[in-house]
Symmetry: C2
Subunit: 99 residues, 2 copies
C-alpha cells in the first residue's frame, strides 16, 4: 500500500490544487474549459489513464466546468498515486486550454 | 424556449428519477454500474447525445457510481428536453446493466 503524504507537503509542487475542506485528506482542482466538448474530452483522457492505472478521481461536471478530487481510499489519504494523477491532469488540462 | 413542466408531473413517467431537493426544479437519478469502465462508458454515450442536442446534464462520478441532475437553465426548470434526456439515460443505463 502506498504511503500517505501530508496534504500541505503534496500541494507544494501542485500550485493549481487545493486542500479538500471535507472530512478526509484529499486534494482538489476546479477547471474551466471552452465548452462541454472540451471538458468531456479532458475527462475522457483522464478516464483512460484512471482505468489503466486503476486509480480513479471523484469528479463532477457542469457544462464547461470540471471539479476533480483525488485521494487514495486504501491509504485513507493522499499518496504518490494522487500526485502522479494530479500532474497528468495539469498536463492534459493545460494542453486543452483549461483555466 | 421550451415550456416548463411541473416536476411531479414529469416524474410520473420516470419511475427511476426523483425530485432534486435543492433550490431549483430539477430531476435526479443515481446509478451504479459494475465498475468505473462501465460507468464512464455510460457517461460517454450520454455526453455524445448531450453535445449533439446541446443539452447537458450536471453530473458526478465516483468509481462505479454516477449521479445525474437534469434541468433546463433557460427555462428555469424541467422541460421536455430533460424528459427526453432522462429517457435516453434510462435506456443507455439499462443496456449497460445499471442498478
Amino acid at each position: 500500500m502506498a504511503d500517505r503524504i501530508d496534504v500541505t507537503e503534496a500541494l507544494k509542487d501542485l500550485p493549481l490544487w487545493g486542500a479538500h475542506g471535507g472530512d478526509r485528506p484529499a486534494i482538489v482542482r476546479n477547471l474551466a474549459f471552452a465548452d462541454f466538448n472540451a471538458a468531456f474530452g479532458f475527462m475522457t483522457r483522464v478516464a483512460l489513464l484512471a482505468d489503466k492505472v486503476d486509480h480513479h478521481p471523484e469528479w463532477s461536471n457542469v457544462y464547461n466546468r470540471v471539479e476533480v478530487l483525488l485521494t487514495t481510499h486504501d491509504a485513507g489519504g493522499v499518496t504518490d498515486r494522487d500526485i502522479r494523477m494530479a500532474r497528468f491532469i495539469d498536463e492534459a488540462a493545460g494542453a486543452m486550454g483549461a483555466k
